[in-house]
Amino acid sequence: MNKSGALNGIRVIDLSTSVSGAWCARMLADFGADVALFEGPDGHPARHLAPFDDAGVSVIAEYVLTNRRSAIVDIEQPSGLDAMRLAAGRADVLVCSMLPGDMKSLGLDFTSLRGANPKLIVCSITPHGSTGARSEHPGNDLTTAALSGWASINGLADRPPLKPGGLQASYCAGTMAYGSIVSALLARRKQDPMPGQFIDISELEVMASTFAPALLNSQYQGEPQARKAKIDMSTGPVPVRDGHFALTISRPHFWRDAMNVLGLDDLAEDPRWATSWYRREHADEYVDRAQAKLADWNKMDLFDTLAALRVIAGPVLETNELADNVHLRARNFFRSPDTGGPEYPGPAFKMGETPAQLVRRAPRPGEHSGRVLREFAGLEDSVIDALLASGAAR
């Protein structure tokens, strides 16, 4: 689909049933792989996630299912499963997110898939990984936030722990899975015949990996990092005239310049305040004064003033403000798919020679069933017609 992609020529079966798996497959497609989504008769589960647009289309599905073709194939029916297996026999990569027991009961365990296609890379992305005590437990972004430690440090001490906003475990795990698949493709190229392998991604472990600093801090401190008792400018966004603003200062000159901007010359010039550990231990001596000054500013005026001095500063922006953001617009961060559709954000990073492509928005379920079964599974038209007639494909 993508002529200048780094993954040109790589054929991927997206058998995912989760946002994490779909995000992994989206990245593979963005960088040039030919990705076919095999979705069940009810459609990919992301299609049923709110919010929806006026036409009833899931925004999340529109975001994570782009750049690929869709076939409806019912792998609960033997002929549908056979067609999927034929496609797996001819693919480079298979992305799946079923719990390991479900994979095995469909006969889709790695050993049997590899038997039919020794070069196949199978990437399983599940809440807790494909082995271990929790492998058959269901999970989602909430439970992953709980078990990874993140919920225990997000939010306030006198209120419940908080999950991260949105679908963070899904995007993190999907991205880790993408990088792992490309790594396996790199390793595969170096051997002849090319060997595939099984990649086991646990959403929990990816989130616990992003929790690594807090985990080791807690070990060194001798007690687990706790949620904050209150939010002040040393720990997060605080009120300004038209919203909230984070002035989480790190380097000494940031402190000096910011305090001067706020008109707190005594705090700016006293060298003791230059180090972050001193400020942390004496927060009650400056926080109220500085926050009283902050409350008089509009967030973008303060940002612009501090930015001119090259001081870090963080106005809290909402999605409508980001859509109009002068910097993101200058960098062409928003773009519509080549074949039309709404403005999408992204990509997450810009590659000079092989930029991520956004060719098409998410396919309708089964939009390409015939072509996918022909090109991926190698089926004759008569066989495809029989599958469609039986309802094993649509």
Partner: protein
């Protein structure tokens, strides 16, 4: 000149200038997958995650099992030590012409270079992409910065704590009735780091196919925004500005974190009617299934406040771990809210080899988060503790550049390399 002999990326080498979290995390993952990572730390301007040199060291670190009696603040910072596993560290003073010269002699030995200075810095040092390409035409350079390498905010500095609000993430994190929050530890760095890893392996793939290197421009603001991209696309598709949802889900109810007995917390959710039926049964509240407010997901979502009161009253008397296990066994989404010590001690995470005990020569033995992926054939692993500052300078310069003892001592004496405060 052999590097690691494990993992899908063995045989690749990065000479990297990464620091703090995002860049260091990206290159740590590459190292865990078998790439050889030589981290070049700026002598005289140390990695901010090594902390201030005059920072007090807590007694708990002094007394840790296996801890050295001779600890240096910069070697016992948990931030640094948590995101620099599997690396070798050399120090070079990059404001000294000889420091830059040594760096440039190392570049031809690298497949990729990664840095997360402010964008103008590598140009000032004379080692931007064009300069590196002169030295090695197929080099891959990945730059991670706050706002990317062009645009009006290019030179505005940023850290996770300011990128979180300015990327839209903070506006989505918080209680439904409360203000926007930052995460407990600057999460945008982690999101950027994972994407840095993804970008570098993509560039390696392109180089294998074509022989071409390339430049990767990673803006932390954009990487973070991509990870709330569905909320951003929602605004573009529907005009709706998403608000904070606490622990709730846009589609499913129940979906929350509830107080259990003994001050513990339990997360639970039902995404299917089967899960809801199983949950109601375990709760001993089958009447919920017949309650018009709770019978189907749509009704539960519409009556979520009342639902949360009912579930909260039930969970309050339950023991966290046994209820989480019972619900999970029944196919309901449920999990204990673990604190950092409980994560480190978690048996399932240890059994899978994710949490590993790492012995560090100064800080002693501590559990750490390990490799977030399992490969069946090309195993990834934790092989090295985070390096001491400059631990590998002499060895690396000798191995790669043939620098001998006398010359190394001269570099030390002239401040081209060294450890600790530079004066």
């Amino acid at each position: 000149m052999t590097g690691p002999r494990f993992g899908p990326l063995h045989g690749y080498r990065g000479i990297v200038l990464t620091q703090a979290w995002a860049g260091s995390y990206a290159t740590q993952i590459l190292g865990m997958l078998g790439a050889e990572i030589i981290q070049v730390e700026f002598h005289g301007r140390p990695d901010s995650w090594r902390g201030a040199y005059d920072r007090p060291i807590p007694d708990t670190v002094r007394d840790a099992p296996g801890a050295s009696a001779n600890q240096h603040t910069w070697n016992v910072n948990p931030n640094y030590n948590s995101v620099n596993l599997n690396k070798q560290c050399i120090t070079l003073n990059l404001t000294h012409p000889d420091g830059v010269e040594i760096f440039k002699r190392l570049v031809p030995l690298a497949d990729f270079v990664v840095e997360n200075f402010a964008p103008r810095v590598i140009g000032n040092l004379g080692i931007d992409y064009d300069a590196l390409r002169q030295i090695k035409p197929d080099i891959i350079l990945c730059s991670l910065s706050a706002f990317g390498n062009n645009g009006p905010w290019r030179d505005v500095p940023g850290i996770g704590g300011t990128i979180e609000p300015i990327s839209g993430m903070s506006a989505l994190l918080g209680y439904e009735d409360g203000p926007p929050l930052n995460s407990g530890q600057m999460y945008p760095d982690a999101a950027a780091g994972l994407n840095g890893f993804a970008g570098i392996v993509t560039a390696l793939m392109h180089r294998e196919m074509t022989g071409e290197g390339q430049y990767i421009d990673l803006s932390m603001q954009e990487a973070s925004l991509a990870f709330i991209g569905d909320a951003m696309l929602e605004e573009r598709m529907t005009g709706n500005v998403r608000v904070r949802l606490g622990n709730r889900h846009m589609t499913f109810a129940p979906h929350g974190i509830y107080a259990a007995a003994d001050g513990n917390w339990l997360a639970l959710a039902a995404e299917t009617e089967a899960q809801w039926a199983a949950l109601s049964g375990i709760a001993g509240h089958e009447e919920w299934l017949r309650d018009a407010r709770f019978g189907v997901n749509e009704a539960r979502k519409a009556n979520e406040d009342a639902l949360d009161v009912e579930i909260g009253a039930w969970v309050a008397g339950e023991e966290r771990d046994s209820l989480a296990e019972q619900l999970s066994q029944a196919g309901v989404m449920a999990a204990a809210v673990l604190d950092a010590h409980e994560v480190a001690a978690d048996k399932a995470l240890r059994d899978r080899g994710f949490i590993v005990e790492v012995e560090h020569p100064e800080a002693g033995v501590h559990p750490q988060s390990g490799v977030p992926v399992r490969f069946s054939d090309t195993r990834a692993k934790v092989e090295r503790h985070a390096p001491l500052q400059g631990q590998h300078t002499q060895e690396v310069l000798e191995r790669f550049l043939g620098v001998e003892e006398v010359e190394y001592q001269d570099l030390l004496k002239r401040g081209v390399t060294g450890a600790g405060p530079s004066n």
